[in-house]
C-alpha cells in the first residue's frame, strides 16, 4: 500500500503529506506532538505495572491505544494512525473520543486537518456541547501523559497505611484522573491510573442534588454487583461513605456517591458530566472492583493532589503517631479524665454527644482492667482544607485478648492540639 501512498502525492484530492503543512494543522499536531515523548515511556511503565499488579487486562488499555494514535499522528504516520484508530473503534465503538479522532484521520485522507474534531460546521454546531466535552477530555487524557506524578511519590493524604490494607485510591479532579495504588512492603506503589469523570458542577459537594463530587477522605463502603444495578452503572459500582463524619459535622447533605461504570452505549463520559459520582469506563471500574476491599480501601478525592515523597511524609506521620500513642497510653492507664481530654466538646458518635459517649468509654476502660490497649492495623490519612483533620482506623485489642473492635476516629487539630471529634466502631 505504500505505492498507493506515494502515488497519491500527486493526486490533488488526497494528500496525506499535507499533514505536515498548514499553520493551523500545528494546533492539532501541537497537542499530539507533546504526547510522543511521554506516551512511549508511559506505555512501557503502565504495561509493566499492569502485569506486576496482576492487572494484565484491558483496563486503561483503550486510552493507551488512543494515545498511540495521537503519537502516530504527531509523527506524520497518518496511515498507521488510521489503522490503529480503526481497530480501536472496532473494539470500543462507543468510545466517542476515539470516534472523533478516527473521523479526523479519515478526513485527513482527503484534506488537511486544522483542529481536533475537524468536521463540517453544521455537524459541529449540532453537537457543539459534546464536541467541547470531547476536546476537554482529550486535554485531560493528554495532560496526564504530559505531567506524571513524580516517580515514587504519593499523595500527601496517605500518611500511614496498615499493611492489611492492600490498595488505595486517590482522585485528582483537576486532572480527571484516578490513581490506584498497591500497598506493598515498600510502601504505596502506583499501579495504574484512569480517566475519571466527576460532577457536572465540579467538586466540593455540600448539598443534596448540587451535582458536585465531594472532596475528602472516604472509604469503599460496599460493592454493588451489576445484576442488582441498571445498565446505567455499567459493570458494577463501589459506594463511598459520603457523607463522612467530617461532612456530617459540617452539615453536608446528599448521599449515594459511587464509583461506577458506563452504560453499554457509552464508553466514557465527559470530564464534568456526573451528578456527583465518579464514573470510569467499564474495564477500569472492573479492575477497581477486583483490587479493592470494602471498608478498608481509602478513596481520597481532592480537587488537586499534592504529591510527596515517602520521606517527606515521615515527619508528619511520626508526629501524629505520637499523638495517637498518647491517647492510647491515656486510655490504657484507666484515667478517664485524662482520656476525655482527647475529645472535643462537640464530639459526636453516631448521634451521641460526648456526655452520652462518656459512659461507654468508661465501660470500655473498665473492661480492660488496666491492661494495655493495643492498636493493630493502624492507618491514618490527613485531610487539610479550612481545617486540619485526620481519619484514623485501627483494631483496638486489650493485651492478652485475641480479638477487639475495629474503630475509626476523626481528629481535628485546633490550636496545635489534635482532638477526637468522632469515634465509632465500623
Amino acid at each position: 500500500m505504500s505505492d498507493f501512498l506515494h502515488s497519491r502525492a500527486s493526486q490533488p484530492l488526497i494528500s496525506p503529506k499535507r499533514w505536515h503543512s498548514g499553520r493551523r494543522a500545528i494546533a492539532y499536531l501541537g497537542l499530539a506532538l507533546t504526547v510522543v515523548a511521554f506516551t512511549l515511556a508511559h506505555a512501557g511503565t503502565a504495561m509493566a505495572a499492569n502485569t506486576t499488579a496482576g492487572l494484565s487486562r484491558a483496563d486503561g488499555y483503550s486510552e493507551q491505544r488512543l494515545l498511540e494514535v495521537f503519537a502516530l499522528m504527531a509523527r506524520g504516520q497518518s496511515r498507521e494512525a488510521l489503522a490503529k484508530a480503526e481497530k480501536l473503534v472496532q473494539d470500543y465503538p462507543h468510545f466517542q473520543l476515539a470516534q472523533l479522532v478516527y473521523g479526523d484521520l479519515l478526513a485527513a485522507r482527503t484534506r488537511p486537518l486544522q483542529t481536533l474534531g475537524d468536521m463540517a460546521p453544521d455537524t459541529a454546531r449540532a453537537g457543539a456541547a459534546t464536541l467541547a466535552d470531547l476536546r476537554e477530555e482529550t486535554k485531560q487524557r493528554i495532560g496526564n501523559v504530559k505531567e506524571r506524578p513524580p516517580e515514587g511519590f504519593i499523595p500527601s493524604q496517605f500518611l500511614k497505611m496498615a499493611p492489611q490494607t492492600r490498595s488505595a485510591i486517590a482522585i485528582d479532579a483537576s486532572r480527571s484522573r484516578l490513581y490506584l495504588f498497591e500497598n506493598t512492603t515498600n510502601g504505596l506503589q502506583l499501579k495504574a491510573d484512569y480517566y475519571v469523570s466527576v460532577g457536572k458542577a465540579g467538586v466540593s459537594k455540600s448539598l443534596e442534588g448540587d451535582q458536585r463530587t465531594p472532596l475528602g477522605v472516604y472509604f469503599i463502603s460496599s460493592r454493588l454487583d451489576r445484576k442488582t444495578l441498571t445498565d446505567f452503572y455499567g459493570v458494577g459500582a463501589l459506594t463511598l461513605n459520603y457523607p463522612n463524619m467530617l461532612d456530617v459535622r459540617r452539615g453536608k447533605s446528599g448521599s449515594g456517591i459511587w464509583l461506577h461504570g458506563t452504560p453499554p452505549n457509552q464508553f466514557a463520559r465527559a470530564p464534568h458530566s456526573t451528578d456527583g459520582c465518579l464514573v470510569l469506563s467499564n474495564p477500569d471500574i472492573r479492575t477497581l472492583i477486583e483490587t479493592t476491599t470494602v471498608r478498608n480501601t481509602p478513596v481520597v478525592v481532592a480537587s488537586q493532589l499534592v504529591w510527596k515523597s515517602p520521606k517527606q511524609l515521615e515527619d508528619p506521620a511520626k508526629s501524629f503517631a505520637a499523638t495517637l500513642e498518647s491517647w492510647r497510653t491515656a486510655k490504657s492507664s484507666g484515667d478517664l479524665k485524662k482520656t476525655l481530654a482527647f475529645y472535643t466538646p462537640d464530639f459526636s458518635s453516631y448521634g451521641k454527644s460526648l456526655d452520652q459517649f462518656t459512659p461507654m468509654l468508661k465501660a470500655e476502660m473498665k473492661a480492660t482492667k488496666g491492661r494495655n490497649v493495643e492498636l493493630k492495623d493502624v492507618s491514618y490519612f490527613q485531610w487539610s482544607d479550612s481545617a486540619e483533620t485526620m481519619v484514623v482506623s485501627f483494631g483496638e485489642v486489650s493485651a492478652g485478648k485475641r480479638t477487639g473492635m475495629h474503630k475509626r476516629q476523626y481528629w481535628v487539630r485546633s490550636s496545635n492540639e489534635w482532638k477526637i471529634f468522632f469515634e465509632g466502631v465500623h
Binding site: Q11, P12, I14, L106, A107, T110, T123, A126
Partner: protein, 425 residues
C-alpha cells in the same frame, strides 16, 4: 466531500497488447492478438481465458508452442470482435431500456460459452445493480475478483455497491483493493476519497452522538463500465524510455480552457480519463525493454534507439496539431476535435469509430466546461510518424484529473493526425 463522481463508459472494449512469455529468455508480443476477454495476465504469465473454440490456455501456459497456438485464435478473435461488440451493446441497450431480464438472459447466453469473459461479467454485474439486485451484483463482482484479482474495475464496482448499501467499511476495502491492483486508478481514488468523507462523517456523528443524516448528501460514486486495456499503446517501452535521452525534449505547455455554462450537466457528469494508466505487472517490470509491438515499433526497437531525429519543423507541426486537438476539445468543437484523428484512428477497445465518436460527443457535450493543460510535452518524429508524450491536466465540472498520455500521430498530407491515443507511459 460532496463531489459527484461519475461513470467512465466505453462500451465495446479495448485491444490488448498481449505479452506472451514463451521462453524464459524473452517475450513475444502480439498486438491485437487477443481481445482482453480472451486473455489476461495471471501470476505474471499470460494466459488465455476463453475463446469461441473451447480453447483454454492454463494448461498451455509457458508452452513453447503457445505463440503458435495463438495464431488461429488471433484470427477468430479479430473476426469475432465485431459480433461481440454487438452483444455488449445489445445487453447495454436492453439494460438502458429497463429490460433487465432480457439483458441478463442475453449476458448469460453469452457467458455460457465464454464464462471467463471479464467484460461481459462486468456488464452483467452492472445490469444486476441497475435491476435492483445488488446482492447478485456483489456476487458477480466478488467472483470476478477471485477470477481476475489483478483487475481494479470489479473491485471498484463492488465498492460502489457496498457504498450504495452504506456498508462503508467494505466499500473502503474494495476501493483500496482496486488501488492495490492499480495505484493510479483515478476513479477508485475519487470513490475512496468520498468513502473516507462519509466514514469520517459517520465517525463524527458517533463521536458527538448526533444523527445527522448523511445519506441525503452522499455523493454518487462512479461505476466503471469497461475493463480497460492492459496497454493500449502501440509504442514500445524502449522507444518511450529512449525519448528524453534521444531528443532534447521540446517542452511546451498547451492549454485549452472553455467555460460554457449553457450546457445542462448530465445526471452523472463523466470524468475524462476513460482509459486508466497502464498497469505495471511484475513481469513487465522484469523485462520492460522487450515490451514491443509488432508493427511500427518493432523496427524502431530492432534498429536500436540512437537515431535522433532532428526535424524540428516536423516537431513544430506535430505540436501545432496537438495544440489544435486540445483547443478543439476545450472549446467543445467536436468537428475540429474529430478532425484531429486520422481515418485509421484505432479507438481503444472493441469500439467502432462511430461508437467512439458517439461516446466522445456525449462525454464532451455533457460537460459545462472543460479545461485541459498539457505539460512536459515531448515529441519524437520519425519520418511520417510521431510520438507525443505529455501530462494531461484535465478539469471539468469540478473534477480534476492529471494523467500521462501518449499520442501516436501520422502525417497525412500537410497534417498530422492522431492514430492512437493512450493513457500511461
Amino acid at each position: 466531500m460532496g463531489k459527484l463522481i461519475s461513470v467512465v463508459a466505453f462500451w465495446g472494449g479495448t485491444n490488448a497488447l498481449v505479452k506472451v512469455c514463451c521462453r524464459p529468455e524473452g517475450w513475444l508480443l502480439y498486438k491485437e492478438a487477443l481481445r482482453y476477454n480472451l486473455a489476461q495476465y495471471k501470476g505474471g504469465t499470460f494466459v488465455a481465458l476463453s475463446s469461441s473454440r473451447n480453447w483454454y490456455a492454463p494448461t498451455m501456459r509457458k508452452s513453447p508452442r503457445f505463440a503458435v497456438c495463438l495464431l488461429p485464435l488471433l484470427l477468430t478473435g479479430v473476426l469475432a470482435g465485431k459480433a461481440w461488440a454487438d452483444d455488449f451493446s445489445e445487453v447495454a441497450q436492453l439494460s438502458r431500456e429497463g429490460k433487465f431480464v432480457e439483458a441478463l438472459a442475453k449476458a448469460d447466453v453469452y457467458l455460457s460459452s465464454r464464462p471467463k469473459d471479464a467484460q461481459m461479467r462486468l456488464l452483467k454485474g452492472l445490469v444486476q445493480r441497475d435491476a435492483g439486485k445488488p446482492t447478485d451484483a456483489i456476487n458477480t463482482f466478488a467472483r470476478m475478483n477471485e477470477d481476475f484479482p489483478e483487475l481494479p474495475e470489479p473491485y471498484n464496482n463492488l465498492g460502489v455497491i457496498y457504498a450504495d448499501q452504506n456498508q462503508l467499511d467494505k466499500a473502503r476495502t474494495a476501493f483500496e483493493m482496486a488501488l492495490r491492483t492499480n495505484p493510479s486508478y483515478s476513479t477508485a481514488h475519487e470513490n475512496l476519497a468520498d468513502v473516507y468523507g462519509r466514514l469520517s462523517s459517520a465517525a463524527y456523528n458517533k463521536a458527538l452522538q448526533i444523527d445527522l443524516s448523511t445519506a441525503a448528501v452522499a455523493p454518487k460514486l462512479a461505476l466503471v463500465r469497461q475493463i480497460i486495456t492492459l496497454n493500449p499503446t502501440k509504442l514500445s517501452a524502449a522507444q518511450l524510455a529512449a525519448l528524453p535521452k534521444v531528443q532534447p525534449a521540446t517542452q511546451v505547455a498547451i492549454a485549452a480552457t472553455k467555460a460554457s455554462p449553457e450546457t445542462a450537466p448530465k445526471a452523472a457528469p463523466l470524468p475524462e480519463p476513460a482509459v486508466r494508466p497502464t498497469r505495471e505487472p511484475a513481469t513487465a517490470a522484469r523485462k520492460p525493454a522487450d515490451d514491443n509491438s509488432p508493427t511500427t515499433a518493432k523496427s524502431a526497437t530492432t534498429k536500436a534507439a540512437p537515431t535522433p531525429p532532428t526535424d524540428t519543423t516536423a516537431n513544430r507541426e506535430v505540436e501545432q496539431a496537438v495544440q489544435r486537438w486540445v483547443t478543439a476539445w476545450g472549446d467543445k468543437d467536436l468537428k475540429a476535435y474529430f478532425a484531429a484523428y486520422g481515418q485509421d484512428f484505432d479507438p481503444a477497445g472493441k469500439q467502432s469509430r462511430n461508437a467512439w465518436e458517439e461516446e466522445r460527443r456525449a462525454r464532451i457535450e455533457g460537460k459545462a466546461n472543460i479545461s485541459i493543460q498539457l505539460t512536459d510535452l515531448q515529441t519524437l518524429v520519425r519520418g511520417n510518424t510521431a510520438l507525443v508524450k505529455f501530462r494531461q491536466n484535465y478539469r471539468a465540472n469540478g473534477i480534476a484529473i492529471s494523467s500521462r498520455k501518449t499520442l501516436e500521430m501520422v502525417r497525412q498530407g500537410d497534417n498530422w493526425k492522431i492514430v492512437r491515443e493512450a493513457v500511461g507511459e
